[in-house]
Each structure stands twice: as C-alpha cells, then as structure tokens.
C-alpha cells in the first residue's frame, strides 16, 4: 500500500464530512413515520418460497445438506456403475471365469488353475477383451488384405530402365 498525501487526505475527509449536511426537503422526516406505519398496517405480501426458505433455513446447514446429497448421489451412482460392469460379463483383471480370488485368510486353498493377471480364460492380456474362440473365421479382407482385387500393370516409360546413370539401381523385369 502506498502512502497517501496527508493534505489531500485531509481535504477528502472534509469533503466527505460535508456530505452530512445534505438533507431532504423540510418536513420529510415529519411525515416519514406516518408513511411507514400506514404501510405497516397494510396486509403483508405473501412471502415467496425463496423468502420463506431464507427465513427458516440456515444457509450453512442447507449447504452442508446439499453437499451430502451430492456426495451420496455420486457414491450411489458409482456403486451402480460397478455392479453394471460385473453383470456385463467383462471380467475385471485377475478374476476370469467368475472364480473368486483366494481369501487371504486361507492362502492354501488355491484354485487348481489360478489365472495370472490379465490372462484369464478367453481374455486378451491386459485388456479384458474376450478372445474369439468360437471357430468362426473373421472376414477374408482382414486375413489377406488386397485379396480378390484385380492387378493392373504399371505404365512405366521404358527409357527409365535404360538410363543407367541414376544412382539407384533399378532391376528391369524379366
């Protein structure tokens, strides 16, 4: 914070203090109370829902309640998503074939063929995607790209092959 000029500051204070002398027209305050009391005797307008809430609900408690509801909904949604994952058949890592992990309380009771992490039966390692073991072949285009397409001879200028001065060696077709 920078220092203020004391003279300027003194002038400002005097100017502000002079505002105290600004008064409404004469008689304003004589009528003021009557106006207030007349309006007070009129029926009060029905408070809006917001006004009623403002009067009756502590804002801090309301904020805490809203926060708790948001957290609760988040947790509930998270749990719901988790159960959907389990039901969808996509097996989480290391839990292939629906076999439960061995309990740490009974480490000797291991399943006969415990699957290593991400290499459960019928899953691609690390991805959780199922392997295709149904025997059905994938479309041919995926097995042999370009198969079935007609070949067309390339139109090449024969003089290109005769030019031996080029640094790159080109073998002419036999």
């Amino acid at each position: 914070m920078t220092e203020t000029d004391p003279t300027e500051f003194d002038k400002l204070q005097k100017l502000l203090a002079s505002k105290k002398k600004e008064k409404p027209e004469e008689g304003f305050f004589d009528r003021f109370s009557d106006r207030v009391l007349t309006r007070l005797e009129e029926p009060a307008p029905k408070p809006t829902l917001w006004e009623r809430l403002n009067d009756q609900v502590d804002p801090f408690r309301a904020a805490a309640a809203i926060f708790a509801v948001v957290i609760g909904v988040g947790v509930w949604y998270g749990l719901d998503e988790g159960s959907n994952l389990a039901e969808s058949g996509l097996e989480p890592l290391g839990q292939a074939s629906g076999e439960a992990l061995p309990s740490p309380a009974a480490p000797t009771v291991l399943p006969a063929k415990a699957a290593p992490l991400g290499q459960g039966q019928d899953t691609l390692a690390g991805s959780g995607l199922r392997l295709n073991k149904s025997g059905a072949e994938p479309p041919r285009i995926l097995m042999n790209p370009g198969a079935g397409l007609a070949t067309r001879p390339a139109k090449v200028d024969p003089s290109f092959y005769r030019d031996k001065s080029a640094s790159n060696t080109v073998h002419a077709p036999k």
């Binding site: 300027e8 500051f9 400002l12 005097k14 502000l16 600004e22 008064k23 409404p24 009067d55």
Partner: protein
C-alpha cells in the same frame, strides 16, 4: 455487544421524552404496539435515511429503501434475538437492502442530490478545498457535491458503505464491523482502499 449510541438520547423533533429506553420500546413493538414502532422510527429515521442516501446518491430511492427497511424490521422483529443492539440490527437490514438494490440496478445510476442544510453556510469553506491550479476552480458548491457523489458511485458497494459509515456518519470501526459482519481489520483495509480510489477520482480537484 456495542451499545446503541442513542440509548439515552432524547427523541428528535424537539419533543421531550422522559428517557429513551430502547429495550422497552423494542419489546413493546414486538407485541404490536404502534406507538413504540413510531418511537423507534422517529429515533432512527434520519440515520437510516442518511446511510441509504449516501449509498445511492438518490433521494427517491433512499426514501423508498428507508421505508422498506423499517417495514421489514417490524415484520421480522420476532427474529430479533437481542444479540446486538436494535440499532445495529436495523442498520444491517438497511445495508443489505441497499446493497441488493444497488446490485440490481448497477447499470442505471441517477443522481438526485439533496440540498445542503440551509443553516450550514460554509460553502466557501467547502470550495476552499478545491485546487486553485485547475480550471475546475470555478465550480459552485452544488457542482462540487455532484462531483463527490459521482465519485462515491464509482466505488464498489462495500467500499461505499464503509466510507459512508465511517467518514460521513462517524461510526467507529468496531460498530461498522458488526454491521457489515466482518472484523475490524477488514473494515480498516476497505476504508483505506476506498479513500485511495476516491482520491484518484477526485485528484483534479484535491491537488494543491
């Protein structure tokens, strides 16, 4: 709790009251006694009006908001727990009402300035505060009032409020803190920045 500065002062308007007892008036007003309401209005109307007027720089708005303040206070007087002076509680209602009003009509500020008290004849003294080296030296007292009020309107509502309560109305920092629901250091800091901004806005008129 700060004691209301008016707990023992007589009522305004030259009427003599035996002794002003705020607590008694408040409890009577709470039970619906209109005479007590009238006494409370007369006791605080000038200060409440002045605070709102210096915040809005508009007489009509100040008159409406001051009325609303008292009506709201009497309709909610059952909620007044007595944790603070009635005066402070009333001020809080006035201040919150006014700040909400200012925020709602931020774009259209119309100055409607009251005349200086006729009894206060120190216009020359006031104009003596204006710089002698600037062309604005020719301004009159009313114009100077307008310039000052326009500068006030450039402050944020909180800065304007702290200047109004401290520099215009002369309330102590502690009481301003109670009204604004903040600590004394915050009041001092806001006051410092508000004055700096006012000085910057009025620099042409205040320099030597």
């Amino acid at each position: 709790m700060l004691e209301s500065p008016s707990t023992v002062s007589p009522a305004k308007g030259g009427e003599t009251m035996p002794e002003w007892n705020e607590q008694e008036q408040v409890s009577r007003a709470r039970s619906g006694d209109m005479e007590a309401c009238d006494a409370l209005v007369r006791q605080y109307q000038e200060r409440i009006y002045a605070t709102i007027y210096h915040m809005t720089s508009n007489h009509e708005d100040a008159a409406d908001l001051a009325q609303e303040t008292f009506i709201k206070a009497f309709r909610k007087i059952q909620n007044f727990k007595g944790d603070s002076a009635f005066f402070t509680w009333l001020y809080r209602i006035a201040v919150n009402n006014t700040i909400n009003f200012i925020r709602s009509k931020r774009r259209r500020v119309i100055l409607s300035i009251n005349q200086m008290d006729e009894e206060w004849d120190s216009g020359e003294e006031l104009l003596g505060l204006v710089s002698k080296d600037t062309p604005q030296r020719d301004i009159d007292r009313h114009e100077l009032q307008g310039i000052l009020n326009a500068a006030m309107q450039k402050l944020s509502p909180n800065h304007r409020l702290v200047v109004t309560l401290h520099d215009v109305q002369g309330l102590p920092h502690e009481q301003i803190g109670e009204i604004m629901d903040c600590n004394t250091n915050t009041v001092r800091t806001r006051l410092h920045y508000a004055r700096k901004q006012l000085q910057a806005h009025l620099s042409d008129y205040l320099k030597q």
